[in-house]
């Protein structure tokens, strides 16, 4: 990585690979009447110009096995209708990307435009729905929880808040965009698809089904992957098209998504609206929450997990760490003429946390209760675990109140309140938010969603070679989460060898067992857990052999420092390397190891466990520009046993940066015609080092007894807490203006408007001196 020797898919050398460029829809909605490819075909260097018809109209269809779900097909290439600006219509295959783009300019698509549906408001009056199968535009509509007594409870509550919260459409925007290299290997009759993905096996299934070939005829390899954040946990139509072309033309084909495609035509995330009625008693305790959740999922349901992921997650996990009393939630996903959405890092939790935290801050203000105190009153306490909420979830032991108190203390200790209130300078505010997140969902939990494909388990294999080195394979697919380090630690600990002797192999469907990849804060717990199980079994094998060689009982053997020793005997012991050599080369001398070799398999399929954290943000709002800067950021997190603090802190900090991005900077905005207005890194504002403050991370370790290592997942937590913390801090900064902002991102113009809405005269006076 540091030498420039990494191999991201675009770095994989292939001198003969052709390049694909896509011709994409210039309009948000319409019917394709004609596609002219002749001119493009005649450009020198062009091999083929491919339409959906050329491929036999293949499609990917994600299915949720629920009556309230409408399955819709996502064609690999649009052929009858286009449903968003950027939808691929034609694939141009040429010797170089330069030529492919030249030729793409000569493809001619005639499209009869129709009025686009961009928002829920457009839906009502729309002449044409996005999908004929869903005339009302609704692809999923679930009344997840009901409570007949909720209405009465709210009617009788001393305080009822009726609020709407919104979050903008965002892009995961990994610095490596998507891409692939597809090649048909005649010798093996196999399509080898190297692709930047989080889910190699799901890509294999998608490609095999779309192309109508056997799974064994597809080998998917994820080389180094330059960030995913959920964007790469679904199957992209472009990579399947590239695979189809390679299989059809029998030429190696490369597609490298450029940034404009990535921002305007790849999967987006998080465009949601929450209409909430929440009742509180006079002590600030929830009596009930009624939630109506609406997700703008874009034009298609992403394969394989479907557009149900975000609405279901939102409705299920909205209550979070709080005892909400009575609860009802309806969750809907509706189709619009914008790019499809995928489960972006955090999956609705950034939104639900934001909603709950805003409700509590509003209630605290109305009732005159401290913001930390009102949380303490509503948070599930230590003595209440395991706690089963009205959302049907049972929360295992966590440190919800402890993390809150610790964070509040750290904030005090760090002098934030003094900094907030110092002088007459810019407006400053502090936000403190508390949340939990279910991580590492296994099949038992995932099964409740009724996806046609239910993910959850993973299998690892651990093998020791004759020299004593260890190779682990896993169905996960890391891309910057430090799996090489943490998996090696887990395995090395159990085998008594140095972590440097352990190498991880993942991301190759011919090399690893079937797996579900890396997303949903699952890898360390599920992949690492299965590696732990496998290495325990391998350790047992080593002990059996060592026992025979050392003439002791297997139960008396200890493995440590690269040696096997008899417990209580202080001698040099037997080098594990030697045991490995004996097993491989002189197995005839052993009577006790009938399995031969040193290899073991482990599987993990946990129910999912809740990590928790309290985040605090200190922000400064500039009255003059409306700009908000995050000055300081503090996290107290509990992901159980911390396997590697550096990796955990890195995940938290990167996640917080992404959360701050969603809170203040990033938004994919569209014109009324459905044209993307943030299609470049000049207008889609991924924050730089100047916008992201140092993040202090504190750990509480509540070991999890549901997992092998005692660890819980934590890859998403930073992203989940930060939008709520920043929004709370902004509102705190505006506290004297009686102005409340209930959406993200908070743009400078929103702040200025909020200030004006508040005490206008006072605001003007303040401005004068700003």
């Amino acid at each position: 990585m540091l030498r420039g020797a990494a191999r991201f898919v675009d770095d994989v050398p292939h001198p003969h690979a052709c390049h694909v460029a896509f011709v994409r829809s210039p309009v948000a909605a319409g019917r394709i009447t004609e596609i002219g490819t002749a001119d493009a075909r005649s450009v020198p260097g062009v091999l083929a110009v491919i339409t959906s018809e050329d491929l036999g109209h293949p499609a990917l269809t994600a299915v949720l096995e629920r009556a309230e779900f409408v399955p819709t097909a996502m064609p690999l290439l649009a052929h009858d209708r286009v449903r968003y600006v950027g939808e691929p219509i034609v694939a141009v295959v040429a010797e170089t990307r330069y030529i492919a783009e030249d030729a793409a300019e000569h493809v001619w698509c005639e499209i009869a435009e129709t009025d686009p549906v961009l928002s829920l408001a457009d839906l009502a009056g729309a002449a044409t729905s996005v999908h004929a199968e869903a005339p009302d535009g609704v692809l999923v509509d679930l009344q997840m929880f009901t409570d007949e007594l909720l209405g009465d409870a709210l009617a009788g509550a001393p305080l009822v808040l009726e609020e709407t919260f919104r979050s903008g459409r965002v892009a995961a925007a990994p610095i490596e965009a998507r891409g692939c290299l597809a090649e048909w290997q005649a010798r093996d009759e196999q399509l080898v698809l190297q692709v930047s993905t989080q889910v190699p096996h799901q890509v294999r299934t998608g490609v095999a089904s779309a192309l109508g070939i056997a799974e064994r005829q597809v080998r998917v390899i994820a080389p180094d992957v330059g960030g995913g954040f959920g964007l790469k946990c679904v199957v992209g139509r472009e990579e399947v098209v590239a695979a189809a072309i390679a299989a059809m033309l029998r030429v190696p084909v490369r597609w490298s998504e450029d940034r404009q495609e990535n921002l305007t035509a790849a999967f987006h995330g998080h465009e949601q609206e929450y209409r909430i009625r929440a009742g509180f008693d006079s002590d600030g305790r929830f009596v009930g929450v009624d939630a109506d959740i609406v997700c703008n999922i874009g034009a298609y349901s992403a394969y394989p997990f479907s557009c149900g992921v975000e609405p279901l997650m939102a409705a299920t996990e909205l209550p979070g760490v709080y005892k909400v009393g009575r609860y009802a939630a309806r969750a809907r996903g509706f189709a619009t003429n914008k790019p499809p959405t995928a489960p972006y890092r955090g999956v609705s939790r950034p939104q639900v946390v934001l909603v709950m935290e805003r409700l509590l801050d509003k209630a605290a203000r109305r009732l005159g209760i401290g913001r930390v105190e009102i949380r303490r009153r509503n948070t599930i306490g230590r003595h209440e675990f395991p706690y089963t909420g009205p959302n049907g979830i049972t929360y295992e032991l966590g440190s919800y109140v402890e993390a809150l108190d610790r964070c509040a203390a750290e904030v005090r200790h760090a002098g934030w309140w003094e900094r907030r209130d110092a002088g007459d300078g810019p407006l400053r505010g502090i936000g403190i938010v508390n949340f939990s997140e279910r991580t590492a969902y296994g099949t038992a939990t995932m099964g409740l969603r009724r996806m046609q494909m239910t993910p959850g388990f993973d299998v690892s294999h651990v093998r020791m070679d004759p020299s004593g080195d260890v190779v682990v394979t896993s169905g996960t697919c890391g891309h910057g989460q430090g799996h090489e380090t943490t998996f090696a630690q887990i395995v090395a600990d159990r085998l008594g060898v140095h972590p440097e002797r352990v190498k991880l192999r993942q991301g190759d469907t011919d090399l690893t067992s079937f797996g579900w990849g890396t997303w949903g804060s699952r890898s360390l717990v599920i992949g690492g857990g299965s590696a732990a199980v496998a290495s325990r079994r391998l350790a047992d094998q080593l002990k059996v052999v060592a026992a025979e060689l050392l003439e002791a009982g297997p139960g008396d053997i200890e493995l440590a420092d690269g040696h096997a020793r008899v417990r209580g005997v202080r001698d040099a012991g037997l080098p594990i390397d030697e045991i490995a050599a004996t097993v491989h080369f002189r197995s005839h001398t052993l009577t006790q190891h009938e399995d031969r070799l040193l290899e073991a398999r482990g599987v993990t399929d946990p129910p999912g466990m809740f990590s928790n954290a309290t985040h605090a943000a200190l922000v400064e709002v500039d009255r003059g520009t409306g700009g908000t800067r995050v000055l300081d950021y503090l996290v107290v997190e509990d992901c159980g046993v911390v396997v590697n603090p550096t990796v955990v802190d890195g995940q938290v900090r990167g996640g917080v940066a992404q959360g701050i991005a969603a809170a203040l900077y990033e938004e994919l905005i569209y014109s009324p015609e459905g044209q993307p207005l943030a299609g470049t890194f000049m207008d889609y504002l991924v924050p730089t080092a100047s916008e992201i403050p140092p993040v202090t991370v504190h750990h509480i370790e509540t070991p999890c007894d549901l997992t092998e290592t005692g660890a819980k997942g934590m890859g998403e937590g930073g992203t989940i807490g930060a939008p709520a913390a920043v929004l709370a801090a902004v509102n705190d900064a505006l506290r004297e203006y009686d102005a409340e902002i209930d959406h993200i991102p908070v743009r400078p113009a929103d702040v200025v408007r909020a200030l004006r809405r508040g005490d206008a005269a006072d605001a003007v006076r303040q401005e004068e001196t700003a």
Binding site: G624, G626, M682, P687, S690, R747, P748, A749, R753, T769
Partner: protein, 296 residues
Amino acid sequence: MKPAPFEYHRAYTPQEVVELLRELGEDAKILAGGQSLVPMMNFRLAHPAALIDINPVSGLDYIRREGDELRVGALTRHRSVEISRGAEVRDGFAVLPRAARWIGHYPIRSRGTVGGSIAHSDPTAEWCLLARLHDAEIVVLGEHGTRTVPSEEWFTGFLTTAALPGEMVIETRFRRPRRCAALLEYARRRGDFAIAAAGVAFDVVDDRCQDVTIVLGGVAGRPLRVPEAEAHVQGAEPAESTWAEAARIAAASVEPGAEADGDHDYRRHLVGTLTRRAFREAYETGTDAGPVRGVA
């Protein structure tokens, strides 16, 4: 995102550039730092048939004082101005290196050129604003020799200038050196093009503001001077109330338009803020007068 084909030509002298421009016609573009042109080519928003690379041209990379003029060669990189500390700049043009820090980022500043920016004519570009602030003259070379165009006439609209076909920018002459000057911008993210910008320059003589110019960026297709606000400050006391009134007038001069970054009210508000702050900074950095009077 790959550029369309073009012919590449390299020039070593300004005369060669002009000859190539004549030979290649209007589809040829000059390639200087390329920090604006090449992205447009990569997006295929620009399709020049030919590029004339002027980076090898010698003798156009300089910052030179001629009396009251600061002459900056067209191929001077932003970074050279940013790190310039000599008396020729310090005395009356100190705002230039300070403002150069606003331009993009370090690698952009080490590659992009002053002349390229002036020729590109982005209404929020620092050099365009500074040119108007300092009543610069743009020296262009064409088939019939050089001519000098006042910056007031140079910037004709969004990405358009008074350059005639076949002409190249060879020098920008910043004029009217003043002790107090500042350029302030606001962008949501570090290094981005400004949503709005305000530049001010003036001298303080006998506790009165003299020789005042105010320029706004991001509010029109070209850098906008605000004569009414300038007139208000001219002869007035350097005080907070003066700045506030100038800011109010400047903000009021912002016409509604299509705004992607924020609404019209917001942009006015921002212009007011930046103007006021620019005056304050200009006064504080240009005089040792200490705190400005009138601050509550």
